[in-house]
Symmetry: C2
């Protein structure tokens, strides 16, 4: 990994997007969302995924300038069509709309059909928290996870994002329903490490900590075994029923053609209710975090709240430069995607 | 376990509640919620918990006839005070109100402070699904789960319930954030079985499948290790910020004094948006379930959708009688609680 200045990364991404005929404002937002993923340490959904994104724009899976449109609305609930636009721009727009609704009506939900991969899900959690509202969003994905009790992938790992604002640093949980993503499995394998806990089954159906065995079997574990398997199913169903869009089973299994995703964006503005506590909501959150952060127990890592590591990485990135994969960075910088 | 007719169980519970001076209508709903838990196979939160419930009414932790009141409202978001009333009646009322809001505004959220243990969380998911809306609700609890990386319990296992209606049988997920509840650990121990997967740490900090070792260490595992730990924290924070109520760290750790819980009830009425699909929402759900239910892989159990086992148990219970613990049943039937 190599460090480059954030601005340099952003500029290179922007240049490539402009070459794809993105509208300038949209190109800037899109480049920002990619660059921020690397800035915050989410390498798998930043620059590393940019070449695939570009190829999907070129192949027509992603329509660079398609904007999402509202199809139906009733009070705090809206249904939007993503028109196969860039997943990150669609998601950003829909969370923006959910935030607006939350200011008006206490909460809002935008269900989005026919969109593309949203890249880093945490982006839209941070977006909500920056707007001082609670955000919850999730997406379905292609079928990449065997339900508990089965060997074939029949649910998506359907990432779920939950954000709570706080002055000292927002709390943002960004979790897929597989215990380890394929990106994480590859990282462990390349470092020659075993997983810290069982991450899936080998081809003989035995639980294993060997990342390579899981990549081979294509049988990663759902979070919490039967529990994450059920949760992934429910998230798909809600997104599909509310948006009127496609379910995991209807999404092409090839990542280069993964399209027509369904997503849900929810925001809650607790401020509209006034203060019910002697202290502000954010002070309450601070106290909860203080109680949560105990000394380490010698197993695993120390207790971290969701989002804590992101803030640390962000600070380092802005000071010392953003980490990038050298070969992908060279391709992007030299315009050779 | 012994089988008794549902009506007999309901009548015995009702009689006991009337002795505690419950208003008759409230006693009926409360008895129903307890009896339905056994009917549906959720024994830990039905009759088995009734003696503790009665003792908490007698000790004044639960105020039998306190009704929840709305403290603040803005559009689709409401804040209610549970006034230390029975947790199941409060939860039922708040989900009822969230459902009303969802008909009016597409979605609704009632955040409830100062309530008591809601008993079986799934009840309120089934309630939403019966009303043909999507329901999501969760509660915080006393601190009973060590966050990932710590040995002391500093988060609750904060059960999360998600329900999606379907003509052929609703889908209802009811999952606590610990991989196994203390009730489940005790069941495995009493049957002399190991857990099917690691369920916690022993007193030496090693992962184990021995239920007794986990009961002794008080270190059950969060669902998905670090992921469930983070999710439990976020659920507590949202319930607390929206309701203005107490966080896990403020709740007495003794189960006999566990009180002042905070909860969140959300409902979505997708019907207000009209149909965006060639088929109805429930047909779409059917197709997703068909894809999900693969043949078994020989490991663990066959693929089940959330709620499937409940429906099977319910059918058996109504045909052959509801399973009850013989000694608790004798106490209740003889009025010797």
């Amino acid at each position: 990994m190599l460090r480059v200045r954030y601005q340099e990364l952003f500029d290179a991404l922007l240049r490539e997007l402009m070459k794809l005929n993105f509208d300038p404002d949209r190109a800037r937002k899109c480049a920002q969302l990619f660059a921020e993923a690397n800035r915050d340490g989410v390498y798998s959904h930043g620059l590393n995924r940019f070449p695939l994104f570009v190829s999907m724009v070129r192949s027509g899976v992603i329509d660079a300038n398609a904007e999402p449109v509202m199809l139906a609305s009733h009070g705090a609930l809206e249904r939007w069509d993503g028109k196969s636009g860039p997943g990150n721009l669609n998601a950003y727009r829909c969370m923006e709309r959910a935030i607006e609704l939350s200011h008006e009506l206490g909460m809002g939900c935008v269900a989005l059909a026919n969109t593309n991969h949203w890249m880093r899900g945490g982006s839209y959690g941070w977006q909500a928290a920056e707007a001082r509202v609670i955000g919850i969003c999730w997406t379905n994905t292609l079928a990449n996870l065997p339900p508990w009790g089965a060997a074939d992938p029949r649910v998506g790992n359907n990432p779920l994002v939950i954000a709570v604002p706080r002055a000292e640093g927002h709390l943002v949980l960004d979790m897929a329903m597989s215990q380890f993503s394929y990106g994480a499995l590859a990282s462990y394998r390349m470092r020659g490490e075993l997983l810290p806990v069982d991450g899936g089954f080998d081809t003989d159906g035995r639980l294993t900590r060997d990342p390579e065995a899981i990549e081979k079997s294509q049988r990663p574990l759902p979070v919490g075994f039967w529990k994450g398997s059920g949760l992934a199913l429910m998230l798909d169903l809600i997104a599909v029923v509310l948006s009127g869009g496609k379910s995991t089973y209807q999404i092409p299994v090839d990542p280069a053609r993964e399209a027509l995703l369904s997503q849900t964006f929810i925001a809650f503005d607790s401020a509209v209710l006034g203060s019910a506590m002697g202290t502000s909501a954010e002070e309450v959150v601070d106290r909860v975090i203080q109680f949560f952060q105990l000394p380490p127990n010698g197993i695993g890592e120390r207790v971290r709240y969701p989002g804590e590591r992101v803030l640390k990485t962000r600070k380092e990135s802005l000071k010392d430069g953003v980490l990038v994969d050298p070969s992908i960075w060279r391709q992007v910088r030299e315009g050779k995607l």
